[in-house]
Amino acid sequence: MALPPEQIRALDQLRQRLSQLSQSLASARADLERSDPVPSWPTLQRDAELLVHNLNRYHETMNEHRAFLTAAHAYPLPTFPGPSQEHVLAQLMRKKLEPKAEDWIAASTKPKTRDAAQLNGLQNGDTSRDVRLDREEYRDLWKWAGATSSGIANGMMINDAFEDNYTLAEREAGVENVVTGLKRNLDDDSDDEDEDGEGDEKMQEAMPSKPAEPGVDASRPPIALETLLRFTSTGTLPPQR
């Protein structure tokens, strides 16, 4: 009936981890219960850290011996003092979790129904509670949100809100008070109409073509490179001039 030594060590290790975890939980709890005033934030933080650390180590150990632990089964030896230690025996032989633990797991993992969410979360304003939506509710929400937001965006497009130099909020509050850092007038709503008509002219005013250089007629074909080089070499002007 002897287990291989490494499996015994694994169980021993696990026992150690669990006892450390339980100890630190107990001490943290005792601290909270007994100390007056309530322990300071750093102390609580340290306790929490220690807990997390112990949990992690326990988790690591579990993972390390996962194969053995999942395959292992407990069964009592005839020498086990059954009648006197019935409680321990029952706990050891139990395959399922305790009903209390099962309830607890169910409560914290299962998505809540709408009613429960409204009762527990929304109405109480208790935001720490898990307010989850099921798949259908999500679909409804996105159906509604997509259509609504694109409707709003379309409305803004039609109003040229995106093209505007000011935001809607600035428009509502009055454009005069907006600090743009610019001196020229951005708000040219008043001459929107005639801008279309005069657009081309305005462009030409804004970007005047280079002043014509004297003696330059860009429409004429350039003289041959050779002719130009001949001039720079010997000073002989091209004949057509």
Binding site: G215, P222, E226, R230, F231, T234, G235
Partner: protein, 234 residues
Amino acid sequence: MHEFLLYSQIPVARHEQVLHILAGVCAAQPTSMCQQHLIYQQLKVADAASKKGASAKQQSAQTQRPSYHKLLRDISSGDGEQSAWTFRAEDVPLPGMQAVISRPVEERVLDHAELEKFREGGSRYKYTNQFITPMERFVHNNVVIRVSRVLSVPEGTGALEPLDAPTPVLADCRPVDPSGSYLFEACVRVEDGTNSKLTEQAMSELQALKNQLEGAVDLRVPDRLSLDTRVKGA
């Protein structure tokens, strides 16, 4: 000194664009310059003794015909003091070069005594013409790129002693090319034209630039004899 050159022409409409492209290629903005070139015709061939070194030999090896020589100076500083005149003699480009223009060049700053030879009444040189080149100069590796416009001076400018005459007013000058196109000149200068390692590198750098600018500026080799500086019918 030896020069390797490639040329192109830039129409007015593309001038800005080409400057931008070059600024990108060279990773630097151009230097604006303006040069005044005086072209002198040699009246009689200088005796070999007065010429220096390699260029003298090359010159005497060629037919003893008089050539056109140039005096040039920088006038970009405007109406401030003008830089000294630089003598420049360009040889006829070497024949048989397909990829680039390759020519020996002599260039040196003249002192007062030498300058006298160019003055009116001298027996050596006769003033022929002059031109002014406002230019943008880029440097890319060892390639000097000049985008210039060749301006002819108003008629009668050279009537007075051109060496002492005030710089012609730029506004009065007219481009030699009536279409106003710009002359694009890419040049690598090598001190020793006989050092094949140097000349090969110079040519490969020019070729690399030509390939890089392909499609933007089409560099080409002009007719060799358009750069002929020998005096015709002498």
